[in-house]
């Protein structure tokens, strides 16, 4: 058994430490995807934390230890999608929620503009691009995670990148 398989087996038996070791290998990426999709550090942390709690409770259902990463990102993506629905329900637009000032101050001028531009994209596109950029997932894999046609993923991704490029020039 690989180390990951052993950790997953232990986690399935309820060992939180093994699970935390698994989590350590993905949490930075999880946070980045959540932050870039939701555009707010608090919501991003909440979403990661909820996804992890769910993943731990449901890890018995994980069939393929090798699929751990994809599986936990599926859970995270579902959480992110729901977060966004919640915003819609609240009729507050995600783009209007300001980031804390210190978070911004630490950014370089160029990076700041990139991030702000990124946040100006439609919400779904941000999630799609985040999964591509931070996770390196291919369109087919993102399609599988988000339950969307891969053709749609490809065209949205292309469109979003074109838009960013145009704005940056």
């Amino acid at each position: 058994m690989t180390e990951q398989e052993i950790l997953i087996n232990n986690a399935k038996k309820g060992d939180a430490h093994s699970f935390a070791v698994l989590y350590e290998s993905v949490y930075k990426e999880m946070y980045r995807v959540a932050y870039y999709s939701l555009g707010n550090p608090d919501d991003a942390a909440d979403t990661v934390s909820e996804a992890v709690t769910d993943a731990f409770a449901g890890i018995k259902k994980l069939k393929e230890p090798a699929a751990f990463k994809g599986w936990i990102f599926k859970i995270l993506s579902a959480k992110i999608s729901r977060q966004k629905k919640a915003y819609v329900n609240k009729t507050a637009d995600i783009d209007e929620i300001a980031e804390p000032a210190d978070e911004r101050a630490s950014l370089l001028q160029e990076d700041q503009s990139v991030r702000e531009l990124f946040f100006s994209l439609p919400k779904e596109d941000r999630l799609i691009l985040s999964l591509d950029i931070f996770m390196g997932y291919k369109s087919e894999e993102i399609a599988e995670i988000l339950k969307m046609p891969s053709g749609t993923i490809r065209s949205r991704k292309k469109r979003a990148l074109e838009r960013l490029k145009k704005e940056l020039l």
Binding site: K12, K60, S106
Partner: protein
């Protein structure tokens, strides 16, 4: 700037992100340990009952399947306001006293599925059960949902429209072809012969019915040379919750559309406010029934709704629609406006605290205002298999000492009535719908992979198990292709054909004529692998799949195989066709068998293909060529013939169907017609219609 430079820029930007301390691995571990005490501890004591013993101890028990008190679920199409809802809930509660004799449900008779499940005494017990299941985790979403439901509870919501407005095209009835008998046409490729499944396209030979991505249904009249849109159904005509439609059925003059939605108008106080795990508060599955006697003016008959939107399945057999839905958010089991009666609900004694209710209902499509039967089991079901007489629910689980197993819950059904039979835990996991099958005499055969099981020493292994009608284990066969992965399976009569894969593709034939002694008959090793198997004729089995590099196992292209199975002990690959390409090949039909068109009588094989060649991987150029198409093949004189490939916008959701000699390709928002008898011009569109 090219795409990759832009992505790098964003990536670099993200590196500076400060990650909040509260989600550091240390703090998360501490959080998880806290939660564990409250959630795991509660049900631990029941653990020893699970899995291991089940396989050997199968005591058939008599289940009191009372059919009392169904009147509550006659859907009278009420509920146009919160007030009505309130009233119907009250009357439902009042009925329980009359219906339900708590004494007759003394402990013994309350047990089902070998005592692993039991009937609650009353609705209160169901509520308490859900509360116990729930972790104390009132989420942001839940709070919003409460507020929202408060806000919206008085909103006008008409479940049954009196006269829905239909958009019918002026050109609808052209008169041409009127009265002519409908031609031979393709049917949705289903798991089990004679049992229909929902899909995004259906035809009856005269019309094509299409569920579009945007939820609209288009009825297309194909009786004349130019197809015309006869009418359109918008989802707002039967549901106002922005739900998601996922499939349709057609039977005679009835059209059914299935959808998931969040029932915001639902009487929230009856539901639990803690979420168990996933899914939506008040998430539901619905079916809208339309009378389409006049194809230009569909009329809504009624809608049937039930708790659960996490996962939904459906089957249509002999005019009765079976609707399956999984809830994981701790909602009470509702069918239409009523909480299900206790004798139809099975609560679990197991430790699966994250399992919500799984509901099965049956509806006579000639009389959809009345639900025939309904059952709810508290289990998280991954997949279902419906044979001619039985329904099997599959739940995957993991046991610390034994490893992976799959619980199967068997029900029998007849004319809509559903009776629980027994359960069994199969060691291993069931990878596809085609890996579980019931023979004509009622024997259940299951092919599993046992990757995470103790029995196989946590090695990848595959096995076949057989069970009798009461789910007693009959026979087993182990060590089939150790270290290889099951890619596809097909049961044909007493034989099982099983394809595994590592670097080459062995096709195994397994003889199940004596269920107590399954025998491995033969094995054929070939390069590549079939991801889908379809019986082509008595002696032939079609395999659709991929070519692969024998050294690395990497997929290199598309592959069709025709296996000669006239001698099951000596299976031969009669013909093979391969189309290699230098990018990635993906066949959406491999993940969704309904997207495959196979009809041996018509001699047609069709499916969509995506060949993606990412140039930038080789040249650094960010341009990529995206080739998607629908391939039409036939098998003549022991050889595959590729007739043509039709270019597509979206291979992912494309479908091909035929009516007579005409082929119709659904591609995103257009339906294109081809004439298969036109020889060289068969790949030229005859007509095209925007949907």
């Amino acid at each position: 700037m090219n795409d990759n430079e832009l992505k790098d820029l964003i990536k670099k930007d993200a590196e500076d992100l400060k990650i909040p301390d509260r989600i550091s691995p240390e703090n998360i571990e501490a959080e998880l340990n806290k939660k564990k005490v409250t959630s795991f501890a509660k049900y631990r004591k029941y653990v020893p009952v699970a899995a291991a013993i089940l396989v050997v101890l199968m005591i058939p028990i008599v289940i009191a399947n009372t059919k009392m008190g169904r009147s509550k679920n006659d859907m009278t199409g009420s509920a146009d306001s919160a007030m009505m809802e309130e009233a119907s809930t009250e009357s439902a509660e009042a009925d329980y006293g009359a219906d339900f004799d708590s004494e007759s449900v003394a402990t013994g008779e309350r047990e089902v599925f070998s005592g692993l499940f039991y009937h609650p005494k009353d609705e209160k017990e169901i509520e308490k059960y859900i509360k116990d299941l729930s972790k104390k985790r009132v989420s942001y979403e839940t709070e919003t949902a409460v507020e929202e439901s408060k806000r919206e509870s008085s909103a006008d919501y008409v479940e049954e429209a009196t006269a829905p407005e239909m958009n019918s095209a002026d050109t609808a009835t052209s008169g041409a072809g009127k009265g002519s008998d409908s031609e031979v046409h393709s049917e949705t490729n289903t798991r089990e012969k004679g049992i229909d499944e929902e899909d995004i396209i259906k035809t009856d030979g005269k019309y094509i019915y299409i569920l579009k991505n945007d939820g609209r249904i288009k009825i297309v009249d194909i009786r004349s040379k130019e197809p015309v849109i006869a009418s359109e159904i918008k989802s707002a005509e039967y549901q106002k919750s922005f739900g998601e439609e996922y499939g349709i059925y057609i039977e005679d003059d009835t059209l059914m559309v299935l959808y998931n939605f969040r029932d915001n108008n639902f009487n929230y106080k009856n539901n639990n406010t803690d979420t168990i795990l996933w899914g939506e508060q008040n998430g539901k599955t619905g079916v809208a029934f339309f009378d389409i006697k006049d194809r230009t003016a569909p009329k809504l008959i009624t809608t049937v709704t039930q708790t659960g939107s996490w996962q939904s399945f459906s089957r249509l057999k002999d005019g009765i629609l079976y609707i399956f839905s999984q809830d994981r958010a701790g909602n009470l089991p509702y069918v239409c406006d009523d909480v299900m009666v206790p004798e139809d609900v099975y609560l679990s004694r197991g430790d699966e605290y994250y399992d919500g209710c799984f509901i099965i209902t049956s509806v006579d499509i000639k009389n959809p205002k009345k639900v025939i039967d309904q059952k709810s089991i508290y289990a998280c079901i991954n997949d279902i298999y419906v044979s001619q007489n039985s329904i099997y629910l599959e739940r995957s689980g993991y046991d610390g000492s034994e490893g992976e197993y799959t619980d199967l819950f068997k029900f029998e059904y007849e004319n809509g009535y559903i009776t629980p039979i027994e359960t069994a835990a199969v060691p291993g996991s069931i990878d596809s719908s085609f890996s579980i099958d019931e023979s004509s005499d009622g024997t259940l055969r299951v092919a599993v992979s046992t990757f995470g099981s103790k029995r196989s020493n946590y090695r990848r292994d595959n096995a076949v198990y057989t069970y009798d009608r009461n789910m007693n284990l009959l026979g087993e066969l182990h060590d089939i292709a150790s270290d290889e992965e099951i890619k596809s399976t097909r049961f044909i009569g007493d034989m099982l054909y099983l394809v595994t894969f590592r670097n080459t593709d062995p096709v195994f034939s397994i003889d199940l004529s004596d269920p107590s002694d399954p025998k491995l008959l033969g094995e054929l090793k070939i390069p590549g692998f079939s991801d889908y198997l379809h019986p082509w004729s008595k002696d032939k089995l079609l395999g659709i799949g991929y070519t692969a590099d024998e050294q690395t196992g990497q997929v290199t292209g598309l592959k069709l195989s025709m296996f000669d199975i006239s001698d099951p002990a000596n299976v031969k690959e009669e013909d093979v066709s391969e189309w290699k390409n230098d990018g990635t090949t993906y066949l959406p039909g491999m993940d969704n068998y309904k997207a495959i068109l196979v009809d041996p009588e018509k001699n047609i094989i069709g499916f969509s293909i995506e060949n993606n060649v990412y140039y930038y991987q080789r040249t650094g150029d960010d341009r990529f060529d995206d080739r998607q198409g629908y391939g039409i093949f036939s098998y003549e004189k022991d050889r595959f013939e590729l007739h043509y490939v039709i270019g597509l916008d979206s291979a992912w959701s494309a479908r091909g169907i035929f009516v007579g000699d005409n082929l119709y390709i659904l591609d995103n928002d257009k339906l294109v017609k081809y004439d298969m008898s036109a020889g060289e011009n068969a790949d030229k569109a005859v007509a095209e219609i925007n949907l």
